[in-house]
Symmetry: C2
Subunit: 194 residues, 2 copies
Amino acid sequence: MTSEKLDRRKKYTRMVLRKSLLQLLKQKSFSSITVKEICERADINRSTFYAHYSDQFELLETIENEIVSDMKQYIDTYNLQEKEDALRMTEKLISYFAAKQEELIILLNASGETSFERKVREVAQTSIRNEWIDTENANQPLSSYMSAFIISGSVHVLKMWLLGGMEEPPHAMAKLINNLINHGIYGSNWDNFA
Amino acid sequence: MTSEKLDRRKKYTRMVLRKSLLQLLKQKSFSSITVKEICERADINRSTFYAHYSDQFELLETIENEIVSDMKQYIDTYNLQEKEDALRMTEKLISYFAAKQEELIILLNASGETSFERKVREVAQTSIRNEWIDTENANQPLSSYMSAFIISGSVHVLKMWLLGGMEEPPHAMAKLINNLINHGIYGSNWDNFA
DNA sequence: AACTGACTGTTGATAAACCAACATCGTGTT
DNA sequence: AACACGATGTTGGTTTATCAACAGTCAGTT
């Protein structure tokens, strides 16, 4: 996709700016964060910031889009390649979440001001539609109400899991969510979850 | 002293190179560490390395000298200023050690190949001579054997303390070492030290 | 001995980050 | 309203890091 050749300075600059904004988001609301503030914490000259991003919004956009783009990749490789099974894909996706725990918690908690959760929902919609079709539910129609319900539930469950320190292993979460999607709430095994 | 105005890039470059070498020293002997290796771990171009240091030795020198220079500062301000009391100075010095614990352990353990411990001894010599003079021991002469004995003991005690995770607070260590110096081993209170 | 491979130290051209300075826009204060 | 203040974008000139390429050294290998 975006395949500019980044030399080390660019990589470093963007990395620290990114970290800086995320740290600030832990402390205060996005609307109160200034470009100057981000640069000071990152120890980067303000003019350098503008060489990369036009403002705070674009920086946040970039951070969000990177994650969403990663998510899409997982889903696409599943769709295009061997279609092993939906469970495997979900598990890999959730392992990815585990690795990015810190960032995801920050971004999801700032959801009032940012569009991150909306973006996640959009991607999840695609994923879940495909999972639905590829399973024994294929005969049943998936109404937009149902998908909305499933997505809300899934995102919320994952949010809880991240905030709770990820006690359960990724594959357990993958199984749970798959069960929720395919067999409904009553068909799922809740034994492992207090 | 060395008061060049360092811009952010220089600061960053030197900082990562420094950290990189210290990390490598944790894993392997100094003589087996190459410039290329340091640069790769630091993610810095090799030619940039040579813009700052002529080789690994000079980098290590710089790291060692910075710490030794800090130590000298503590000792000098004590000597020149109000001469509050030796105990206070020792305590501040040891607090400084606590802050630099990580680095000191690495450098002291690599002592076979580096000159760090020798440098520390040299500084300690000055410090201890002054402490000796300023206390009730003033009438007694301090032979070079005695100072060597005291310095070896002090450095070793501090090394143990750092490696042991600094269980005792700095002021306790300061008191202990002062006692060792001023009143000898038998006069010291060893109660707090299993 | 010739050969391979890795590390070394140096070079010149290029790209990126730096900094100081400026005019501009809000916000809030006297 | 006039004012001060801080954040904002933008600029041009300077400094630094980057990269690729080079020839040199050295240890181990065939």
